[in-house]
Amino acid sequence: MNGLGYEAPQSVEETVALLARENGAARILAGGTDLLAQMKTGAAAPQLLVDVKKVRELSSVEEDEAGFAIGAAVCTAALAEHPGLCAAWPGVVEAARLIGSEQIQGRASLGGNLCNGSPAADSVPALVAAGASCLIAGPGGERELPVEEVIVGPGSTCLEPDELLVSFRLGSGKAKRGDAYLRMIPRSEMDIAIVGAGVCIELDDFGVCHAARIGLGAVAPTPLRVDAAADALVGSRVDDAALEAVAAAASAAADPIDDKRGSAEYRRKVAGVLTRRAAKIALDRARGEQ
């Protein structure tokens, strides 16, 4: 790490200019809970760290009629202190609050969780289910992408070296909509998910599901959006038959690895079980029962 540079720019433009100047040798530093740990083990060796926590758009949560803009570098502990966000998107906040310990939550951001590119990143399936999009800035201006298109393989994203994730866009709070996230870890705290399932359900005035989105983590090289599972809910009252169909579709979509933390068969089964349970919680929230 000798000769490492550190810059803390104040604006998006300045950040993009720094990244462009360094031509791939710079890395963005948000909470550092992935990056600094990787630098310690030698897995990452950037020449310049660009700390983005002083950039306003990345370090605040804004709410307007359209919904929320969550700064990519806001720590997860701060998300849980935002009453509007907790009320509108409880599933996103509960996923963010599963990332690491209290100490980790004092630093870890949603932007870092996504851009680190782990298939098991806890907030990603919840953000996919919530229909979040990413505002990305680069030398040519801004572009917006659905969350599920950002990670393209384990540890890699579609962002160019001179681009940065500015914020996540989420819709506003809405009656008859509920979201939820559940994960399975071999321990009770401080572990990496072997399956994560995010579900968002919208009901019409008659209690029939008219829209649903489902995200799955840790069961494929990237987090997945599973439309086949969501389709099993749409048009139903989210009764037992629909919940069984959701579980079957989620298990079928899972293509997990086999390792000491869980066999592929087990992960596939758990993907179904957790998706069904998360759907039930999302349903209760949509009905205003939780």
Binding site: M1, N2, G3, L4, G5, Y6, A8, L29, G31, G32, T33, L36, A37, M39, K40, T41, L49, D51, K53, C75, A77, G100, S101, E102, Q103, I104, G106, R107, E189, M190
Partner: protein, 159 residues
């Protein structure tokens, strides 16, 4: 590369130090400022021995770069006692034998104080979850949890 100058506040006092840009806040506290109460267990965010409160939030100082401390407010274990008087948490840790080798103790104290500052009346489960980021290889945790609950009761004026 030139050493970097950092102005920060530690336990309420303005402090200036020089550091290498790759040093962590943990390195700067221990090696530049001789505040060796903060310990290094793992260096990768897993053990909590290096816990500090950074701009009001509990964090691992091994995952903060020293230059990030510019303009920040840092609270370390050295700031927990007032003058010569131990904080109730420190006293209960001693009286109830909540430590053996002691390497984890500063981190537990900082994390437990952060918990009690925001939640003066935690349940046992809440204490266990709040301290899940602090590892202890000696005590088996029970005495630590009890010392924290007893300190909380004392601070609420119930003991």
């Amino acid at each position: 590369m030139a050493r970097r100058h950092v102005s920060t506040t530690i336990n309420g006092e303005a402090v200036d130090f020089l550091c290498e840009p790759h040093q962590t806040l943990l390195d700067a506290l221990r090696d530049e400022l001789q505040l060796t109460g903060t310990k290094e267990g793992c260096g990768t965010g897993d053990c909590g021995a290096c816990s500090v409160v950074f701009d009001g939030r509990l964090c691992c100082s091994c995952l903060i770069l020293a230059p990030e401390a510019e303009g920040a407010e840092v609270e370390t274990v050295e700031g927990i006692a007032t003058g010569g008087e131990l904080h109730p948490l420190q006293r209960h840790f001693l009286e109830e034998a909540a430590l053996q080798c002691g390497i984890c103790t500063p981190g537990f104290l900082v994390a437990a104080k952060a918990l009690l500052d925001s939640n003066p009346d935690p349940s046992e489960t809440e204490v266990r979850f709040a301290l899940a980021g602090n590892l202890c290889r000696c005590t088996g945790y029970d005495k630590i949890i009890r010392a924290v609950l007893d300190s909380a009761a004392e601070l609420r004026g119930e003991a």
